[in-house]
Symmetry: C2
Subunit: 639 residues, 2 copies
């Protein structure tokens, strides 16, 4: 028995190097303690001991740790434990190593800046008139002949300059008008925001402040939150910041988070992502030297569950048939109403979603790629924790969601990571060996999505794995690793962490690609569309880099259609959100678009499982579907 | 020197029979003490010792009272003082007699129920579709084939039943939808509110609650606040309540209250009228057995300063040239935002005003009388603390405001009162003597507006006063009263209070009628309209009764136009507010109407003073303008 304070069962956990301490119940996990202390520990599996990411070092005191394969004997000797598997028995002191820490100052996501060619094109389609904008006005002072009210004088001038048939201002603004207008000599800058079919006069400021108008576009991903700071006047991107979604502490998968919201309270999940966004905005404005009061709007795109968490809408009905959202197209709200810190009267917009499992991120993608006005058959695949597939033929569009898991986002695989500095984003298997490239040319820390696709496709094309994904133990680099086979891409001691791809990782990747391919296949069959008619395949997602189309097809992630052009379009969720922020026409198009797309639920499909299982082979059980791959790799021929 | 507590200068004032006590600084007035204690003392002049209404009896302790003519020697002996003129020197005990107390349970205002003939006519003009209404919906439950969001399902059904191109709901409503819809078996009642050009879904309730939809129409008068409870579904009036506007403690005149707001804080004036309205609503719903949550909207009409106080808009610019409002057409706001207690999401609407000194009460009047669609020349006179005059010819309308003072509202004259029980509302001078009628046939307590007009006109027509308004001391009933001449209408000891009209009261009435007549005269001259072309004269106001047109003309309050029909239309501010509440078309018409009327500021007029002075005679200095009166009374002939 430990000595115990009379009448209390509380123990103290101190985190190094932060120096933050917190009191928790004896028996709590270190992960809970870290959450309570506000220490941003990486946790991908939601505290189930599966991901092995929440490694911390116990420097003093006593904990009880469950056995795990994620730690080597040497590490255990050094005091390493998985925070989620270690229960506190006494006052303890714990060190959080850098790799286990979700950095507040996340590295800029390269991916979020790239691949904007289609966005640029779509941008030309829409008039640049931001949803929220400033207008400098010089009003004629009132006289006895022209003595209408201050509000009416202001509105009259606004209407001379802008289209605003329905114009409204809140009481707080009206109360401030008389002193403001007179103090400013009738020269003021108003902020106008589109709300539904109406325009709200959000604020009035003295003098000419029309140049100071900023907005933030946010891709609220299940794994990653990516933000761009936009100059609403010039349309320029002033900065980009990204970080993992802190909700991952509640579970990697959407469903798990919905259950967590039901059990622990929706406000916890809301608070987590809101604080992520607040932190990113704080970074963005500091770097760009922009004042918080001049950030007037936030435009978010995300899957339906993410926008529910963000707005505090109950997500429970999303996880049960018939998978219904509380709201697919929520109204713009005061950002402050959900806790987002920008101008106190600034607005939060959400790109409208298509269905319970096909969200506004897909609407944004169809907008950013210009596919909303496609005239030929196309396929759009957005690869995230869920993979969404949209098939269209120019007249109709139908969308489905496949539960891919986060493998392609750099999570759920042993050495996966987000496309931040040190991530291996490209891998080539050449005759002379394996080459890789990292983000920022820094020492390798792990694999991001494009690196994982390159590695698994490369292993297959180079014959390291067979069509079922099994590693050949006799190949160079294939090693025994914690009781299973693994391909060691980077050995330890190169001044970098060891980077491996395990047998289990490969199975994860195959399951992910099979789920996506099955969705594509089912939509094609259900809509009776000849695959050969497809001219364009757009692949969106936060991979970290362009993907070699040959690798994507060899993996069986993308159908093998020699007549179709495959284009990697990057993070179109973010690109679409930016378009909406910069153009009210684009946002109006997004609203129409979300209603135009038909949602097809794969759960409905009697042959889904069959399609999924058949797609788990490399590239596919049915080789006739992958003629190019068969020809290139000479599959089916006797070796 | 008085004995004094060390270190403090506070004294205690206890009010009987309430038993409420309050500590105030030595030297404070009893009126201030009463305000601090929440004792509703009548005070018309705002604490200047002029109205003589705040009579209280000092039962113990020491006060220093300024001399006043409002109290007889007997009263002073009994301990009577004017609360505003009495300064507290020690702990005191004070009795508040019933006549000095603003009853919380004010008697129903007869006037507010009457004179609705033009309103009924105007009501037929507009479709009865209230600004806020309930709709019972039976939704098809979601299926895999029809699994749109809860919001979208609800909106789809609303749009099948109602015109709502732009439909919005707040986050709070959306957050409650999923459990509500499922718990109610998809049978719900929604509340829809018109806000600008959009419809807000204010709330959703389980089951069919469409019958429980109520609204309150309010005439926010400078002197009196009148409320009607409306059944929004049937259009019926369920109850009427009125009371003096508590802001009178800050001054009788609008300008004085604006100064008080600047000195003491706008929130005090706002709080006063908001609590009046809350008290009246509480009474109305108790009597009608209506739940507060089912009161969904409040529609207020009042002059521009009154709506500024109500909404907390700074009124300061109204009192200085060029007399500009903060907002003439304020947007609908959540009633709770200004402290009005109805359904927490219920809305407060304000009938839009015309100019800084011609408010929404006049817009409401032009609406309720149907004059907004007049095709012939007309004159509309709304007599309140300010008298507003609108002249129109079918094509144009021009409005002006005359500072009449509250004489016709039963205030500012010695025995004046609101048209509550016991008010003398009709007076006839016949050969056999003077007859009078009281509200509720109760013992006379004072004179309301129509009684005052009847009395002064009667005195003139019967020869008790000459053309300058001087009382003839030799006539029966004309007595010496506190140092001036007065006509005693009701002697003391008839089981009732003495009711007199003093020489000074008559002068007040003549000033009031002169201000209004001058405005009429100036508008006619400025617009170049031949008076003979006028076919209709509408007179609105809270007089307490119909007024004899002959008396109104004999007084010179209304022009002497034999070809014009004079109609008394009662409280059209309230009638118009009711119309707006019951018909969104009527409210939309009020918005257009307010913009159509041109505001003419009398301050602009170089011959205003001349016109005013000429109109102070009975009926007017220029007898040629009053041919009928001259003929009937044989004026100008040698006696």
């Amino acid at each position: 028995m430990e000595p115990e304070l009379t009448g209390t069962n509380l123990v103290r956990v101190t985190f190094r190097p932060d120096g933050k301490a917190v009191e928790v119940e004896r028996g709590e996990t270190l992960l809970s303690a870290a959450q309570a202390a506000g220490i941003p520990l990486v946790s991908i599996c939601g505290g189930e001991g599966i991901c092995g990411r929440c490694r911390v070092i116990v420097r003093g005191g006593k904990v009880e740790a469950a056995p795990t394969l994620h730690l080597s004997r040497e590490e255990i000797k050094k005091g390493y434990v998985l925070a989620c598997q270690a229960r506190v028995l006494s006052d303890v002191e714990v060190e959080v190593p850098p790799e286990s820490r979700e950095g507040a100052a996340a590295a800029v996501d390269r991916d979020a800046r790239g691949f904007l060619a289609p966005e640029a094109e779509a941008r030309d389609t829409f008039a640049r008139e931001p949803l929220v904008r400033k207008l400098y006005l010089e009003l004629p002072p009132p006289t006895l002949e022209d003595n209408t009210g201050d509000q009416e004088r202001l509105f009259r001038e606004v209407r001379r300059r802008a289209e605003a048939p329905i114009l409204q201002a809140g009481l707080k603004v009206l109360r401030g008008l008389p002193p403001l207008l007179r103090g400013a000599g009738w020269r003021v800058t108003v902020t106008l925001a589109q709300r539904g079919g109406t325009v709200e006069l959000l604020q009035a400021e003295p003098g000419d402040r029309a140049r100071e108008a900023y907005g933030v576009a946010v891709d609220v991903g299940t794994s990653t939150v990516v933000t761009h700071l936009m100059d609403l006047r010039t349309g320029k991107t002033l900065g980009a910041e990204a970080r993992y979604n802190s909700q991952r502490a509640f579970g990697e998968e959407v469903t798990r988070r919905i259950i967590a919201a039901e059990r622990e309270g929706l406000e916890k999940l809301q608070g987590a992502v809101v604080e992520d966004i607040n932190g990113l905005i704080a970074l963005l404005i500091e770097q760009a030297e922009v004042k918080l009061q001049d950030v007037l709007a936030v435009m978010c795109a995300g899957n339906t569950a993410m926008t529910h968490f963000l707005l505090g809408l109950p997500p429970g009905t999303l996880r049960k048939s018939p998978y219904v959202a509380a709201a697919l197209a929520p109204p713009p709200v005061r950002a402050a109403e959900v806790g987002i810190r920008i101008n106190p009267r600034g607005l939060l917009y959400v790109v409208p979603g298509i269905g319970g499992w096909v969200g506004g991120d897909v609407t944004a993608g169809l907008l950013a790629t210009g596919l909303f006005r496609a005239t030929e058959p196309f396929l759009f695949i957005d690869i995230g924790t869920n993979g969404e597939v949209v098939l269209g033929d120019g007249d109709w569009m139908v969308a489905a969601s496949a539960s891919a898991g986060p493998a392609f986002e750099g999570a759920g695989v042993t050495c996966g990571m987000r496309a931040a500095r040190g991530a291996i984003h490209r891998v080539e298997f050449a005759s002379g060996g394996v080459r890789y490239w990292t983000v920022g040319d820094e020492p390798p820390r792990g694999l991001c999505g494009s690196g994982i696709i390159d590695t698994v496709a490369g292993l297959f094309r180079a014959g390291y794995i067979d069509r079922s994904g099994r590693l050949d133990p006799d190949r160079p680099g294939v090693v025994e690793w914690h009781g299973e086979l693994a391909f060691r891409l980077v050995p330890e001691g190169e001044g970098a962490r060891e980077v491996v791809v395990t047998q289990r990782d490969i199975e994860n990747v195959l399951r992910a690609k099979a789920a996506i391919y099955a969705a594509v296949s089912i939509l094609l069959r259900e809509m009776g569309l000849e695959p050969e008619r497809i001219k364009q395949i757009y692949i969106a997602g936060a991979f970290g880099s362009h993907i070699d189309p040959e690798n994507a097809v060899a993996l069986g992630l993308v159908p093998d259609l020699p007549g179709a052009e495959i284009t990697f379009v990057g993070n179109t969720s973010l690109a679409g959100a930016k378009l909406c922020l910069l153009s009210k026409d684009a946002f109006a198009e997004a609203e129409r678009l979300a209603r135009r797309v038909t949602y097809y639920d794969l759960i409905n499909c009697p042959y889904y499982y069959e399609e999924f299982m058949a797609a788990k082979f490399l590239p596919h059980t049915d080789l006739s579907r992958f003629p190019t791959v068969v020809k290139t790799l000479r599959l089916g021929e006797p070796v």
